[in-house]
């Protein structure tokens, strides 16, 4: 789930100042689940802004899906609603805002702050669970991601900043990811995975902006990271090291 929170109303009103007529656009997917940009929140926002602005509303099923965004925007155009407004207030994550901004020919303004890919414990309580590093290690770390949950993103933790299984970042309150990994690997009898030396992370894989072109070709599926380097000398060394450790 993409975790978002609503921006303070004053900030939203300030960004809307240059405009007079707006559509408030919601998101039917993540922002609906975390109750920041669903039907209900769009309606509430409209009530708050109406009077000062002419307000129209729409909830796009998945505004980050270019196909859906285009289809819904065409619908709005057909109804002539795009002619009545001069800006879009988007209650969705940054991916949604940018997709809509490419489709709609009016300024798209963010109404939410986007935080992370995470787990919803309950509404209002969320935990980051994935940093989208493009190279998943969860199979070796008992389903606990050190890239995300270790404050240093260490591959060979824990570090010296752990006391009683708690992390130095944030005052020894949060669990050390590597302690959690150890506990769970023990439970599964896979302690051998813990002693393995993990090679330096391939940050080339996550050099942004990233893109994937996974269109099938005659030779099979093709997945590319346009900005990522091909197998480098560095990488080759890592692979041999990895084999030695096994």
């Amino acid at each position: 789930m993409i975790i978002t929170t609503q921006k303070p109303l004053e900030e939203i009103m300030k960004t809307l100042e240059p405009y007079t007529k707006i559509i408030i656009a919601g998101c039917g997917t993540c922002s609906t689940t975390v109750q920041t940009g669903g039907e209900q929140q769009v309606k509430e926002m409209a009530d708050k802004l109406r009077g000062k602005w002419f307000v129209d509303t729409v909830v796009v099923e998945a505004p980050c899906d270019g196909r859906i965004a285009r289809k819904d925007w065409r619908k709005i155009q057909k109804q002539g609603r795009d002619q009545r407004i001069d800006a879009l207030l988007c209650l969705m994550c940054g991916a949604g805002v940018q997709t809509l901004a490419e489709v709609a020919e009016v300024p798209c303004l963010p109404g939410l702050n986007t935080h992370f890919l995470g787990k919803v414990e309950r509404i209002g309580l969320y935990y980051e669970r994935c940093r989208a590093c493009g190279d998943c290690y969860l199979g070796e770390t008992a389903g606990i991601c050190p890239v995300t949950r270790c404050a240093k993103g260490l591959m060979n933790g824990p570090c010296g900043g752990v006391i009683d299984g708690k992390c130095e970042v944030g005052g020894y309150v949060r669990d050390c990811a590597w302690f959690l990994i150890w506990e769970r690997l023990k439970k599964f009898g896979r302690m051998n995975l813990f002693r393995r030396v993990r090679p330096p992370r391939q940050f080339g894989m996550q050099a942004y902006p990233r893109g994937i072109d996974a269109v099938p070709t005659p030779r099979g599926r093709r997945e590319t990271h346009p900005t990522a380097p091909d197998e480098t000398e560095e990488h080759k060394v890592d692979i041999t090291k990895e084999k030695r450790n096994e």
């Binding site: 992370r201 940050f203 080339g204 990488h235």
Partner: protein, 325 residues
């Protein structure tokens, strides 16, 4: 006018048409060749840039190289500092180190992306950018405080801050505004990317004139056709003029001795760049030239002689080089 701490800044402020050179330490533990190049440039250029992991290829620390060059040769250095490899803590710490070692000029750079270098899987830092780094150093110099306002003990560091600009940018307006941001954040002087087109360069200088910041225009005499072709191919945003490239290519293809080739290469460079420098000087729009001919230092004296620039031995104050204990 801000205080000049370095000989470079003093010469610029005195109205002299100044020259700077460039030194490029590589991935090595022996920088004797860098020192030799610095020695042969002495008396011809006022100061030398020392590059910091150029193109994101890990090289000898530019701080160490800059210090050793100053100590061994007396050549003043312009310590280049990239944001690609260091966060604000490391930048602050290196800058304090530079102050201790008697470095007086810093050139702030954002730096090429780590993907472009020889360890493409490194984590790129970019905690700050060149504009913010400039502001950070300004505060260290003026107020004796770090980025967060924490006091720095001892006397304020004494740096003159240079920034980079690219007169070849197209469109040029955002480039000018970007450099203005750096100037407003505290830059003392500007060194530009390599320029070949005199009209374009003068246009940039004219647009930039009202900001009253001294500009050193980058010129790049090319040692051989290979160097020129590589530069043309790999340095984004700069094109070597076809005519010049062709001339160098012809030399490469000729069946003549190395010494003859060398002489012809030199001739081509001098014929192209000496009038370029003369023109720049005549315009009165720039403070000098930054000659970036790394590993081709022998061209500098010849070029200056041809451009009829006589270098009198510098009478500015001797370098403050920290004593090694």
């Amino acid at each position: 006018m801000r205080e000049a701490f370095s000989n470079l800044m003093k010469e610029i402020q005195s109205g002299k048409f100044v020259f700077t050179g460039e030194l490029e330490p590589v991935k090595t533990t022996d920088i004797s060749s860098v020192i030799a190049e610095a020695k042969s440039l002495k008396g011809y250029v006022t100061a030398c840039n020392v590059t910091d992991n150029p193109s994101s290829y890990a090289a000898v620390s530019s701080l160490v190289a800059a210090y050793v060059v100053q100590k061994e040769t007396g050549m003043e250095t312009i310590y280049q500092l990239r944001c690609a490899d260091r966060n604000r803590i490391a930048l602050t710490s290196d800058l304090l180190g530079a102050a201790v070692l008697g470095i007086r000029n810093i050139l702030t750079l954002t730096g090429d992306h780590t993907l472009l270098g020889d360890m493409p899987n490194a984590k790129p830092v970019f905690d700050l950018d060149a504009t913010l780094l400039t502001g950070m150093i300004r505060r260290m110099v003026d107020e004796g405080k770090d980025l967060n306002g924490n006091d720095i003990e001892g006397p304020h560091p004494q740096f003159n801050i240079g920034v980079a600009a690219n007169p070849n940018a197209d469109p040029i307006e955002p480039e000018i505004l970007k450099v203005v941001r750096k100037v407003e954040n505290g830059a003392d002087f500007v060194q530009t990317q390599v320029c070949y087109n005199i009209d374009k360069t003068l246009e940039f200088l004219r647009m930039f004139k009202s900001f009253k910041v001294p500009v050193l225009v980058g010129v790049f005499p090319m040692r051989s056709y290979r160097v020129a072709a590589e530069f043309d191919k790999f340095v984004p945003g700069v094109k070597v003029p076809l005519e010049l490239l062709d001339k160098l290519k012809q030399v490469k293809q000729q069946q003549i001795s190395k010494a003859e080739k060398r002489e012809k290469y030199d001739r081509i460079n001098i014929e192209f760049f000496a009038p370029f420098i003369t023109e720049l000087r005549k315009s009165g729009l720039c403070a000098g030239c930054h000659i970036m001919s790394v590993h081709y230092v022998e061209i500098t004296p010849k070029l200056l002689a041809e451009a009829k620039i006589e270098r009198t031995l510098q009478k500015t104050s001797p370098l403050t080089v920290a004593k090694s204990s």
